[in-house]
Every structure is written in C-alpha cells, then in structure tokens.
C-alpha cells in the first residue's frame, strides 16, 4: 500500500521550531515527525494531530520560563553595567543627566502650559457648536480690523429668522458700584445677559432656576465667590443689591464659579431686560454695544447664515461684514478690538515650542557628543562582549538601554524640578496650571513618548557607533583617534550648538534693545511726574471746581488738566467724520479726545499751525477743532485753518504724538473742548518730595470723593503696563537664553575635558620637545576658534533675517540692527567658550609632562 507522506500540523511545527534552540532544532522536529507519522498510520490522522499539538503546547511553558529567566538575567547585567558606567564617569554623567533634565523640565512646563491654553472654553457642553459674531471693518486707516461688537438686534434676529441657529445670546459689559449693607465694591465684572445665556453656555446654578432667573428686570445672579464676598455664608437668594447707588437688583440665583480657563469671566449677571427700563427700548437696538454668541444646529451651513446676517448691515450704509468665530478659537486666535479680557496668542505658543525644542536638541547633541567621545573607554567592554558571543543587535540593545536609563533618571529629576518650579511658573505665566501629568491621559502618554524618544534618539548614534568596534582593533591596541567621518559628524554637532547659541544671543540682544527703545521713546507728550486719576463719583464729576481749587492751593501741585481720556491711549473714534472737500463715498475713522483749555500746555504738545484753545474765543467750546499732523494730511488741505470739520472748524494743528501703543502708526486725531467735564484728572507734581505730593493728593481726593474710592497712579507706570506683554516676552527670552547657554556650556565643558584627556600624552611629548605653555594653549584653542568663527558666520545672517522679519511685522517704530549687535554676540559666545573650556585647557597646557608620560 502506498503510504502518503503525513505532515504534522504546520502551525504547531512552526511553533516548535521557534521554541527549540538552533542546533537541535531540526533533529527534535524530526523526532516529533517520526512519532507523528507512526501514530497517524496506527491510530489515524486526527489522533496524531492531537498528540502533536499537545506535545508542543506542553513544551511552551518551560520555554517561556527559561526565556524570561535568562532575559531577566541579561537585563540585570545590563543595568549593573549601566550604573557602574554612570558612577565611574561622574562628571560626564552629571553633565549628560543635568542637560537632559533641564531640557525635559522645560518641555514638561511647556506641555502643561500648552494643554491649558488649548483647553480654554472647552468645558461648555456645546462648545463645538458655539460661535461668536464679530464685525470685520475694513474702512479704517489701520487696515482691516476685527471688532468684537455686534448690534443689539442681532441675537433676536438669529433666534427668530435663522433656522441654522439653535439659539443665540447677547451680553453687555457694565461697570458700577455694587453695594450690600456696608460692603461695597466697584471692581466686579458685571454683565447684562439675556435668558438664552444659559442655553448657549454651560454654567451650572447652585441656587435658583436658570430658566427663569434672567426673565424679570432688575434680577441678578452672583457667582459663588461674589456671593461670599457680599453675603458671607448667608443665603443670598431674594436679597437686594444696590447698584450705582440708584437701583435695586434682586438676587435670583447663585452660579458656580467660572473656570479660569475661559476667555471671559464674570462675577455678576443681570437680566438684559433691565436695560429697557434703564435706558429705554432704543438702547437695545443700539449698534455695536453687545457681544453676541450663537449655537449652530448640527450640519448648519455657516455661509448661508452669514449671508442672512449681512442683511442687517446692508440695511445701513456701512460696509462692514459679519464674521463668525468658533468659541474655542477665541483664546488663541482672537485678538479683536474690544475683547472682554486679554487673550493668549497662538504665536506665543509657537515661539515657546520652538525654543523648547531647540533646548532639547542641544541637550541631546551634548549627550551624543559626550557618549561617543567616551566610547574609547568602553571599547574593551564591547570587544569582550563580542568575543564571548554577543551579536551586534544585543550590543545595540544594551547601549540603547543604557541611554534609556539615563533618560529615565533625567526624567525623574525633571519631575522634581517641575514640581518645584510650578508655583513660580504659574505666577509668571498668569495661568492656573496644575500638575496634571498623572490625571490627564494625553499628557501622560506625551510624557512617556518624550522619555522614550529622547533616550532612543540621543542614544542611537552612540549605540551604533560603539557596537561597531571589532575585537581585533580593540585588543591589539590600535585605537585610531577617530575616523574622518566620525570626527566630522561630532564636530558638526558642536558647530550646530554654537550656531544656535549665537543666534539666540543675537536675537535676545535685538529684542531687548527693541523693548528698551519702546520704553525710552519719546511719545510726544510729557509723561514724567504726572499722576492720573479717574473720577468715579458722578457728583464730583459735575462739580469739580472746588476740588481742583483746593488741589492747586498746595505748592506741590504744579498743574492740573481734565480730559475724557488719557493721551497715551485714546480709543474713542468717530467713524463718520466729514470735512470740507472730502470725497463723497469715503469713510474715515478719526480718533477724538475732549480736553480742557489747559491740556495742550500741560502735556507740552507742540502747536505748529494756528492756535490752541483759548477762553478768549467764546465759540471755541462749540466749534473749535485741533487736528494732529496725520489728520491734517488726511484731509488733503493746503491750509487747514478755518476749514470746516464735522460741525466745527479747524483752529490749529499740533505735532503728532503717540496716543496708541507703538506697534501702530499714528492715526488721525482731533481735539475738542470738553462739553461735559472730563473724567480723567491729570496732575503734575514737583519732582522733589514725591511722597508728600502723593499724600496731599490722596487726602484731598478722598475728602471730595466720599462715596467712591479715589484711585490714582503714575502716568509713566500706566504706560509701561501697556507693554507688559512685550516685557514678558523679553523676560522669558532672557531666561531662556540663559538656560540654553548653560546647557551648551555644559556640553563644551564635557568636550573639553574629553579632549584634554585624549591629548595628555601628546601635550606631554610636545612639552618635552620644547613647546611652551603658550604654544600648547594656542594649539588647543585653534580648534575652538575655528568652530566659533564658522558658527558666527552661519548664525549672523540667520539671526539678522529672523529679527528683521520680526521687527517689521510687529513694530512700526523700531530700532536698527547694527554692527554692535553682531560684535556683541560674537564676544559673548567667545566669553562663554572661554569660561567653559578655559579651565581645562589651561590645566592641560601647564601640566607636568612627567605625570602624563610616566607610564610610557
């Protein structure tokens, strides 16, 4: 009978071959097959197959046990060796680990910051469908602007006539003095909102019913903190708050505190219908007083909606357009005019990410360089392992494992660093950052990825480099100092580090210079020794003369003026300006400020044509206008004097001054006399005994402003505060440069130590042959000088290009980038290298050749 060749089940046979050791694999397989065939012949294929499978499966546990046991043994050995290596080269390990730890700590802080910034406003249930409406205004001199204001009728229109909109709400910010019993505050964030507010936004109510709370006029809701402030632990429901000493509002509910990661926060919400009785129905249809938010239906067409919304604008003569911005974009991408609160900026995040990435890069470069340069000392170990039978793959695994160990140690250190630095960082960034690495899954994963990537990438080059050693070269002691290729790679790493450092130094220098320039720049009006105060009390506003007279009676007070805004930040604008000879159909927005007769002298403004306001000309109060140069140019008149302007005529022209932050060009400005008394009081004081002047002002101010607190501040401090964001930038950059330079220094020190060790013999021989310490020094230094020069030539154009772009994009008034900048950065880099490398080189150059050649 012809016997068919029975083959054992293929899968089981395959498992078997994977389990067995190479040598005996085939013979064992054949043993198994032989019995299988016999069994198949005697008792049938099924029984045979079953037997085969059982045998294979029974062999698996033992195999696994063995495998893991031996793997564990190997890992124990690798770890032991890794730690020994770290301990043996304490300096290098310290440099490596601290460089990585610093880089990682920055990465971690950055991760916390970014995830917080990205989380803004996302806690609302319908956050994905919420948008805000805003106006795109293209008619102003300052280019296209996004204005965060909308007409009052937009929200009802959206609700009633646009099926794409599920619901819409509008809010209006309001200021005022709020009072309960003897507690009074005027700094609460007070908003009017309509009933649909809670349909769009998710703000849970602790007390009260969110459907009815805002229905009636003079109803009000407080946040938990606000309630505590006014009522302590009492139940505020039903109680009454006094607003502006005039109106009573009943408390209808308490809202959970608004999370800090929102683009606007509030303390008190009042019902929008109150405005009807306060200001009449006309107010509700006021233009550009409200902020409107809407919630889209799923799948709605935004473009269709915009077209419908546009109808509202088209009914007027304005040429603006409506736009919709997603709620979640507001914090990072919305820096519209009239934002409720200052927003973050996506560019800041890009900048932070880029710099952190650079830092990490430098730390990794250090690691690579130091590890490969130490490789000479590990050559014997690698050779031995290869002789005993390690494969290249095993060696690579071992070395990668070592860098992972270092990475993990650095990571643990960075965690402690972050824990320590977090409180400071929180304050510095002005954000509520929490150490949420272990609670947020995404962050945790990012963290693990960071450690792995750093360890693997930084470790890969040394691993591949070291595992390439051949036992013969190692043991016969022919150690080449390094092939051309390896040296090129390592040297280029150092050069890249130097390039990054020099670029960063240059950029920091330029940025700090620009900030100093802004700080010092003459704004065109006097700003020192001036105290400004806002007169809150409306009674005082109306009868301000006694107050001023008493102030003037004191010798410390030099001069006083009243205006409706302060000259460093004029924001009121008239979009509907008309002047004689204006082209029909054009629209121009001109800024306006109302002042008193004294204003121009007080602030030392320069009248270049015509005259100032004067009491001698009685008609000045009604019709006199003074334009700035830009405004005069705008009109296109040859002689602006006595030309008609709005309802008045031009009596003079003053020199331009900066009434807005320096990143905008000076816009056209018109000065008119106060019709109502100005609310902003500017007081010039003598330059000596400032505390006394302040005391006088405080005393008199409080005397006349009985019901409202009298708050005042220095004008130049106010101006500085405008630029706080940029100052923050300058500060952050300086910190960053310092950290980066420190890490780069670490790398240079490490490299210098290594080179010094390598060259001890060579230097000893040279000295014996008669070289002086000086010539040795120059020998060692030549290398570094060469690198510095190369790096400088690469870094300078790079830095120049970047800084030019930055200055052009952000500042109309800017410093020039001069030769001094580049000389400074080169000098700084030189100094840094000197410090890092100097000690080592001097030590080597002055070493006694007897010591270095003792063992030859």
């Amino acid at each position: 009978m012809k016997r068919r060749k029975e083959a054992p089940p293929a899968l089981a046979a395959w498992i078997l071959s994977k389990i067995t050791r190479g040598e005996d694999r085939l013979s064992i397989r054949s043993d198994f097959s032989e019995i299988y065939e016999e069994l198949a012949a005697e008792e049938g294929t099924l029984k045979a197959k079953r037997w085969y499978w059982i045998q294979v499966l029974r062999s698996i546990p033992m195999f696994l046990l063995n495998h893991f046991f031996w793997s564990a043994e190997m890992i124990k050995n690798y770890l032991k060796v890794a730690f020994r290596n770290i301990k043996r080269n304490k300096i290098f390990s310290f440099i490596n680990i601290s460089g990585l730890a610093i880089g990682m700590a920055c990465c971690l802080l950055l991760m916390l910051f970014i995830s917080y910034e990205l989380s803004f406003d996302k806690y609302h249930e319908n956050a994905k469908n919420i948008y805000r409406a805003a106006i795109k205004h293209s008619q102003s001199l300052m280019g296209t602007q996004m204005l965060n204001v909308t007409p009052g009728i937009l929200a009802p229109f959206l609700r009633e006539e646009c099926p794409e909109v599920k619901t819409a709400t509008k809010i209006k910010s309001w200021g005022g003095m709020i009072q309960y019993g003897d507690k009074q505050f005027d700094d609460d964030r007070f908003f009017f909102a309509d009933s649909e507010f809670f349909e769009v936004f998710t703000f849970p109510l602790i007390k009260g019913n969110k459907k009815t709370a805002l229905k009636d006029p003079y109803s009000v809701l407080l946040t938990q903190d606000a309630a505590k402030k006014y009522f302590g632990d009492e139940n505020p429901l039903g109680k009454v708050l006094f607003v502006d000493n005039k109106h009573e509002y009943t408390i209808k509910g308490v809202i959970q505190n608004v999370p800090r990661n929102s683009h606007f926060t509030f303390d008190i919400l009042a019902s929008m219908v109150t405005l009807e009785s306060l200001k009449g129905q006309k107010h509700l249809s006021g233009w550009n007083n409200y902020k409107t938010y809407l919630m889209l239906q799923k799948g709605a067409d935004a473009d269709e909606l915009l077209k419908k919304m546009q109808q509202i604008i088209d009914r007027t003569e304005m040429k603006d357009k409506f736009i919709l911005q997603p709620l979640t974009d507001i914090h990072l991408y919305g820096n519209y005019v009239f934002e409720l609160e200052p927003n973050g900026d996506i560019r800041y995040i890009y900048l932070l990410s880029a710099t952190t990435f650079l830092l990490m890069l430098i730390a990794c470069f250090n690691f690579i360089n130091l590890s490969t340069s130490r490789s000479v000392y590990r050559a014997k170990e690698v050779g031995m392992r290869k002789v005993i039978g390690a494969t290249r793959a095993q060696l690579i695994k071992q070395l990668l494992g070592e860098s992972l160990v270092i990475s993990i140690i650095a990571f643990l250190i960075s965690l402690t660093l972050v824990k320590l630095l977090l409180p400071w960082f929180r304050g510095y960034m002005d954000r509520e950052l929490k150490f949420m690495f272990f609670t947020d899954i995404q962050l945790l994963l990012a963290l693990i990825a960071l450690v792995l990537i750093v360890g693997l990438i930084a470790g890969s080059y040394p691993a591949f480099f070291l595992s390439r050693f051949r036992p013969i070269t190692v043991f016969t002691g022919i150690l080449r100092p390094g092939s051309k290729r390896t040296n090129l790679f390592r040297n280029s790493l150092v050069v890249v580090q130097l390039v990054i450092t020099i670029t960063l130094i240059t950029c920091t220098y330029v940025i700090l210079g620009q900030l100093r320039y802004i700080h010092k720049k003459d704004l065109g009006f006097k700003k020192t020794h001036i105290i400004t105060a806002y007169i809150r009390d409306p009674n005082l506003q109306n009868s301000v003369e006694p107050f001023l007279t008493e102030l003037r009676s004191h010798p410390q007070i030099v001069d006083i003026t009243l205006s409706n805004q302060l000259p460093y930040l004029i924001m009121n604008a008239n979009p509907d300006t008309r002047w004689e000879g204006m082209e029909a159909g054009t629209e121009q927005q001109v800024f306006e400020i109302h002042v008193d007769n004294n204003f121009i002298d007080f602030y030392d403004l320069n009248v270049i044509q015509g005259r100032k306001f004067s009491r001698e000309f009685r008609k000045d109060a009604e019709e006199a206008c003074i334009l700035n140069q830009t405004a005069a140019r705008m009109t296109g008149w040859d002689d602006p004097l006595n030309k008609r302007y709005n309802e008045g005529k031009v009596i003079g022209v003053i020199k331009d001054f900066h009434f807005a932050p320096l990143n905008v060009k000076v816009a056209p400005l018109c000065l008119r006399l106060n019709r109502d008394p100005g609310e902003w009081l500017s007081i010039k004081i003598t330059s000596h005994d400032i505390p006394k002047s302040l005391a006088v002002i405080k005393h008199i101010g409080e005397k006349y402003s009985l019901e409202y607190p009298f708050v005042y501040s220095f004008l130049d401090e106010r101006i500085d505060r405008l630029y706080r964001a940029q100052q923050k930038l300058g500060q952050s950059l300086t910190y960053f440069s310092a950290i980066l330079i420190f890490v780069a220094c670490l790398g240079l020190i490490g490299l210098a130590s290594y080179t010094a060790e390598q060259k001890t013999r060579e230097i000893g021989i040279r000295k014996v042959l008669g070289a002086s310490a000086g010539s040795i020094l120059s020998l060692l230094w030549k290398k570094y000088i060469r690198w510095l020069i190369l790096a400088s030539f690469i870094a300078w154009p790079l830095a120049y290009y970047m800084m030019q772009k930055w200055l052009q994009n952000n500042f109309v008034y800017r410093t020039k980038i001069g030769i001094i900048t580049f000389i400074f950065s080169a000098a700084a880099a030189f100094a840094i290298t000197l410090i890092s490398v100097g000690f080592q080189t001097i030590k080597s150059a002055t070493a006694n050749p007897v010591d270095s050649l003792r063992y030859e």
Partner: protein
C-alpha cells in the same frame, strides 16, 4: 562512585542496547516498552542532555535520511565513562541482590 537516577540508568542501558539506532524515538519506545509508563519527550531529552554534560554519553548528527524529511538525527553513544558507570551499577546490583530469589520476596507478601 556517583549515583545515577533511575531514568538515567535506564536510558544508558537503552542506548547500549540500541547501538547505532540510539536516537530519541527508539529510546523512548524502548523505555515505554520496559516500564509500561508514558515517557514524554522532555523526560527523555532532559536526562540525555544531563548525561551528555556529565560526559557519560556523546552524540553526533547522523546523515540525513530519506524517511524523516531529510533531516539529521541526533544519535547517542556511550562514552567509556558511561560504560564504566554501567559496570559499576551492574556490580553493585549483583552484590546487593546476591542470593535473593524473586520467589522469596513474593512469599513475604
């Protein structure tokens, strides 16, 4: 004299009996036949390895056979050391068992 375990002893004997054909499968069959118990592969391979490490057996890969898919078999052979141990065991057993007939043991029961 070093004691061997029973399975080791049995395997040595099996190898001796099987001469050229002393590879895994026949050894296993022989043991099953003698002892009447099931011997797993591990029960055979392990002692074989141990004995080889102790130097009582040596092994070599035979030529490929047509039958088993052309794979080589690992054939075991007694070393002089192995033969010595067998002699020792036999001598010891004979001495200790000297004069004890099977009939006498059965009558005790």
């Amino acid at each position: 004299m070093k004691f061997l375990t029973r399975p080791e002893e049995l395997i040595l004997l099996a190898v001796w009996r099987l001469k050229d054909k002393a590879y895994c499968v026949p050894i296993k069959k022989l043991l099953v036949q003698y002892t009447g118990r099931d011997w797993s592969f591990g029960a055979v391979y392990d002692p074989l390895d141990r004995l080889e490490r102790k130097g009582l057996l040596e092994s070599y890969l035979s030529d490929p056979t047509a039958k088993r898919g052309g794979k080589r078999k690992r054939v075991y052979k007694l070393t002089p050391g192995g033969i010595m141990s067998l002699i020792e065991i036999k001598t010891l057993t004979d001495e200790v068992w000297d004069g004890i007939p099977l009939k006498a043991l059965k009558e005790e029961l």
